[in-house]
């Protein structure tokens, strides 16, 4: 795992799509939690509180602001293909924490609205999608949704950003092999 395996043109295209989708989702999530409305942060604070991990108001406040900013930086890095593998690691860590939290509240029978994407529902609880209509915003459906993103993140962690990325553009050019005549 020390170095990302090389991928071809098709593979780089797939990685670009994965980066755009996963990074875009995390940037969207961060925007919805921080800037979408005057009460975006308040809504996320209430969601954090609903998980009942801590009663400390200051800790919940810090989580309310720190989580979205980490999402934003990681999402932007993924989209740009800069530090792709590191960003994928961070996003996978976040997703692992989210999944653990969702499993915990689901097993505890708590009714929580995670405000993961603000008012926007990706799949779970999205009434516009028949398959997921009426599902709880936070429940096993959400675990599946996050697990799917985790797989995308894992692929980016393993393969990196591919050719179409800032990582590739900024990579040091390999020194040309000396010709036998020299």
């Amino acid at each position: 795992m020390s170095k990302a395996p090389r991928v071809g043109v098709f593979g780089s295209g797939v990685l670009l799509v994965l980066r755009a989708v996963l990074g875009g989702l995390f940037v969207l999530a961060a925007y919805q939690k921080l800037f979408a409305s005057p009460f975006s942060s308040q809504s996320f604070y209430e969601a954090v509180s609903a998980f009942k991990v801590t009663d400390d108001i200051e800790q919940k406040r810090l989580a309310t602001f720190i989580i979205p900013w980490i999402e934003l930086f990681s999402g932007l890095a993924l989209i740009a293909g800069l530090w792709t593998r590191a960003a994928a690691v961070v996003i996978n860590l976040l997703l692992a924490v989210f999944i653990a939290g969702i499993v915990s509240v689901t097993l505890r029978g708590l009714s929580v609205d995670c405000s993961c994407f603000g008012n926007f529902k990706l799949l779970c609880g999205n009434d516009a999608i028949d398959l997921f209509k009426g599902t709880k915003p936070v429940g096993w459906c959400k675990v599946g949704e996050d697990a799917a993103m985790l797989l995308m993140g894992a692929a980016l962690w393993v393969y990196g950003g591919g050719w179409i990325s800032l990582d590739e553009a900024l990579a040091k050019p390999k020194p040309a092999k000396a010709s036998p005549k020299d």
């Binding site: 409305s37 009460f39 308040q42 809504s43 406040r61 900013w69 980490i70 999402e71 590191a86 961070v90």
Partner: protein
């Protein structure tokens, strides 16, 4: 792997730093998180008589007429006694309202407002803060539906059109539900002169348990 780990830690550190700064800036902003109800005395002023020796008027702000007493609001002596204290001798009776969470009212007080509204003596609005599908299954007749998600965008049209200057009574699932407080905090933060704001402590379950009238379907009169 070492480089990747270092960069990952750096990304997390950037997020922590930016989040920390944002959290500090937010404290001084217009809507500091968490929003609280402490800047209102709403129902205190509408339902609680001044305490003995309290010569000062209630503190008020220009933006929150919620602190203004309204003659239509229920007086403690007008509502049915619901607590054992109501049967104690007068000299031993503590102030009828709890010292905290003064904006909470009982089902009996809410019913009194409902009856006054029916008689045209109170022009306030009941607000159902539960999810919309629960609202359509049953709600206090004449209620407006506004859950906290309505505020995750521009100021809702209903709030702009119907609520400024109006007393409101908010309810949700009852004592374990915080949605009423969440909506109340947002209405206060909007600074649109909405109020007094009161919350039915026992919520919609208490209302139905008391056998009071309910309605189903969508909103009426708030298009």
């Amino acid at each position: 792997m070492g480089k990747t780990l270092f960069r990952a830690i750096l990304l997390i550190g950037l997020g922590i730093g930016a989040g920390f700064v944002h959290a500090q800036l937010n404290k001084q902003g217009a809507n500091p998180v968490p929003l609280t109800l402490q800047n209102t005395q709403t129902s205190t002023d509408t339902a609680k008589p001044p305490a003995a020796g309290d010569s000062k008027p209630a503190q008020s702000t220009a933006e929150t007429p919620a602190v203004q007493p309204t003659p239509e609001a229920p007086k403690p002596e007008q509502v049915a006694p619901t607590a054992p204290e109501a049967q104690k001798p007068a000299e031993q009776t503590p102030p009828p309202q709890a010292p905290q969470n003064d904006m909470f009212i009982s089902i009996a007080q809410a019913k009194e407002l409902y009856d006054k509204k029916a008689r045209g003596q109170w022009d306030g609005i009941f607000i159902d803060a539960r999810p919309y599908h629960e609202f359509t299954e049953g709600h206090i007749p004449g209620s407006m539906h506004i859950d906290k998600k309505y505020f995750d965008g521009a100021v809702p049209k209903k709030v702009r059109d119907y609520l400024p200057g109006m007393p409101v009574v908010i309810y949700c699932h009852g004592e374990n539900c915080t949605d009423s407080e969440a909506v109340a905090a947002r209405l206060i933060a909007l600074k649109r002169s909405i109020g007094p704001i009161q919350i039915i402590k026992e919520g919609y379950p208490g209302w139905t348990k008391a056998g009071y009238p309910v309605d189903s379907g969508g909103e009426v009169g708030f298009e």
